[in-house]
Amino acid sequence: MSSLPPELADRLIRLRNADGGFPPSAGGASEPEPTALAAIALDDAAARGWLERAQRADGGFIVGPAAVSNDSPTPFAALALSPGNAGERAVDYIAGHQAPRLGFDERFPHDPETRGWGWTSRTFGWVEPTARALLVMKLLRPAAREQIADGDRVLSDRECRRGGWNYGNREVLGTAYDPYLQTTAAGLLAVQDRTDPLRDRAVAVIRQLWRAEAGGLGWAMSLAALHANGLREPALEARLSELIGRTNLLGDAVALAWAAIALGPGIERLRIRR
């Protein structure tokens, strides 16, 4: 198990607000996603306390206006709060809030039988929110076979032609769309347990793309996804450390937290036992 580099931990801790939570960037109000990821990365009791106070009666974690109801941070909050009742209630929420099925539309073809999870309640299921919900269901509620199968089917359906994922459209108006590094990393985290070639294609896409897509969030999530899969990429690790030192990842708390997860013991919380 790796130990979190103290200098990286300090960068993240400096972002913590007085209420124990973490903002998306310095000076902002605490929000569930950066707080949950920081809690996982730092094993941070104050961050968990903030999450417990922020949890809604229905078990979910919402960011933004009620009319939009962005509940996408809930999986990471569930992971940060587990084991325990608060985490269980968050998992219950995820299980009860899959995206609706949409009819087939030839302009952006997808499997109309699938649901997945959306960024916001009751809208279309996309790759990243589906991947994070799927990961947490596999980790914390492996008995939910129907929902896990649906999530896996979404990722199979949305996989780009060459492997990996973008935000969620593999094809629009007859044109094949390419994968992105960051979303491929999100998907790879969720398919650690799969034995079909989809997982290997995602690994290959990450190894192919990371040099071209130089950015803190993509690199940090890619390293986390590779490490969760028991794979190493020393050159990426070195470049990420250099980027952190040079740019502080633009002060993006989510990116710094992912880097801390990738390089520290927090990665063990994301590892699916096969």
Partner: protein, 361 residues
Amino acid sequence: MKEHLDRPMSRRRFLLRAAELGLATGAVGIVGAGILAQQKPSPWDAAAFPPPGDTRVAVLRATGYNGDLERTVMDGIRQVGAVDRVRGASVLLKPNMVEFDPASVINTDPRLVAATVTVMHRLGARSVTVGEGPGHRRDTQYAAGTSGLLDLLRDAGATFVDLNTAALERVTLKSGYTQLGELWLPTAVTRADLVVSMPKMKTHHWGGVTLSLKNCFGAVPGRIYGWPKNVLHWAGLEQSILDVAAAVRPGLAIVDGIVGMEGDGPIQGTPIAAGHVVIGTDPVAVDVTAARLMNVDATRVFYISEAARFLGQGDPRHITQVGEDPERSVTAFQLLPQFANLRIGAPAQGGGGDHAKAAGG
């Protein structure tokens, strides 16, 4: 309660919904060749949107990004009388950086953005910030860094703010084309004295064209509205463009039409050398003019024709063109077949399609 999240809002449904809300009727602009029925609903707060007056739009020749772009931008700002808007103002430049592909021309060119930063400083801006919340990419450092924007901004003396992660505040909408009612927008946008919309001149596979009004989408934070900004697509793409642009209210628009994108824009299209920068203080008038340069009839683009009713000037009789003659500056952008009716002089077919959709992107 969340009806607007149940399914995309079509134009027909928008009209019915507006009628249900008892919104007043009446029109300000004359743009629009009868897209809607004569009795159009007016889903905006009339007190917040006074009738637009006469305005000037500059069309400036620029054939490449290595020329004197500072002079081009400075000339344009002076020609449209916008110098006083800049002096002493906190300025936010909002380029289009929805995505980055080194092999394509998706983004407002960073060299034009950097030149504009320099011009803003020379004109006495109190501060200059460049902000964008990429709509497809969550890794803003990749998009802004690899494109070269961050390095150019450091040299030009401007800070960059990721509008997807920036501090937010709630804004009550003063228009109601969607049922969102409010938006959470970055304080970098809401508290700027002057927001400058800096779009790339592109076609758009759902909206026809994307210019300074559509560019305002990038001010809406992905961490609230998702990647792509699915809530906006779900609420109706063109209706959302209207509500978002009415909330952002850019006070200056600078269109990068030096090299634009035609065909399957805004991501998968092909580059087209259009050779112009378009500048004005009224984003509607700028979009009408830029569309004209693309050989697109803005009166047939639903959201532009609606914007001309309350958000800005769409009547060519009240738009004074300065600089190049737009009629001699047209470069016909290739349009997807479903937008053939947007072409200037094409047979009218009811104007645009229903481009509201759920999946977006």
